[in-house]
Symmetry: C2
Subunit: 215 residues, 2 copies
DNA sequence: ACCATATGTAATCGCCGATTACATTTCGCT
DNA sequence: AGCGAAATGTAATCGGCGATTACATATGGT
């Protein structure tokens, strides 16, 4: 994992400057999260894994929250990419695209619980301070609004006036579903008899079918 | 807040034993959370506020997670009480009671964000280790299942077979709504023009009306 | 009254985030 | 090429933290 020769080992290739410490720290942080959980991340260990002194990270991140925010930004970029791709790949139909967006979101959250945890944390990262984070978050919400507005224009919604309410509901539903799954709030999988991802995606289908389309 | 004479001040009433340190620590912890946020809780400060040495708390809580779990248990008891009271006060109609349960849950979460944060945290508390926490959590879920099952028996549901799916959806919806509100994920209040609690409760009504009743 | 047990203190350990002073490297400018 | 500023590393240090240990004091049952 160490991306730099270790000076302590007398390595002749040891360099004083790391070369790309910023990215190395982000990668190390992600590794720590996957190994020991979000709450066990420490700047010092990330520095150790990057083969660097404990104070070095502060040249790139003024605070621990800044490091976590950088990790979140990278994760958010991936999520945005997945969602955008799924929407683009879906048929040219607002409701089909809306559904594709939701399933892509759940797929990503369930498939990358580590990254999802970071994104949705509001205690470890400094969300308001990150323009990138807010922009990509808003972009997804705006995309949802646009899709539902277009659906309303085509008469696919029972009531066009309630688009904002529907978007709010849809976000809460997807967010709640993803978070509960990731955080292990679903001990009743054995009751439904379905694997978590299957039940979650089924729930989304039900939601879109009934709530949004007003069936 | 200090519930015990301060020995350092030469208080003649100072006692070696606190008398009720366990409860005092829980109260101090809640106060810290309300003042500085969940992530700034420390056993040492709770001990200081209780007028006790930094090691004393460990006589009552083997670990920090145990202390936070005790706080969560107390909060969960209040939530369970509110929910049970709301259900009991509602008309003798399964859907009316189901709706009352949901609104009581949201009311409590939005009215006591501090306690809700603790309950829903899975990193600070040791959820699986607390029988009380799991029991009360399960009790609410079972109550939801029973209410919907009764509603199905009375023909108030479009499809009785999907009760487990509906309960899963309803839990995710309420949880997502509450968490997003508490964590500040709703910057679009100005878009809807409604105050957060109003919009949240409206969303729940919409959800129950369309998704559950199948309208 | 006695003593086991409960409950407190004191001292200590290792780890943490953060800051400061200093060392080294890199890079733009002439 | 070389020089100096800026970037980027190290070393040492600070205060705070969770947790453990050895020891001191209070409480309550017999």
């Amino acid at each position: 994992m160490r991306s730099r020769p270790d000076p302590a080992a007398g390595d002749p290739n040891a360099r004083y400057h790391h070369g790309n410490l910023r990215d190395a720290l982000i990668a190390a942080t992600i590794a720590i999260i996957e190994e020991r959980g979000v709450e066990h991340v420490s700047i010092r260990e990330a520095a150790k894994r990057a083969g660097v002194s404990p104070g070095a990270p502060f040249r790139h991140f003024p605070t621990k929250a800044a490091l976590m925010t950088a990790v979140a930004e990278q994760a958010m970029a991936r999520l945005s990419g997945m969602v955008a791709a799924a929407v683009a790949a879906a048929p040219d139909d607002p409701m089909a695209r809306f559904s594709a967006l939701g399933h892509a979101y759940l797929d990503w959250a369930l498939g990358n619980p580590t990254h999802f945890q970071i994104i949705s944390s509001r205690t470890l990262i400094d969300f308001p301070a990150s323009g990138a984070l807010r922009e990509q978050n808003d972009a997804i919400r705006v995309l949802m609004e646009d899709l539902l507005a277009e659906a309303a224009r085509r008469g696919m919604l029972s009531s066009p006036a309630e688009v904002p309410q529907l978007v709010l509901s849809a976000r809460a539903f997807g967010y709640g579903l993803a978070r509960m799954a990731v955080d292990g709030h679903f001990p009743e999988w054995n009751v439904t008899g379905e694997a978590p991802p299957v039940a979650v995606h089924r729930a989304l289908d039900l939601f879109i079918g009934r709530l949004i389309r007003g069936a």
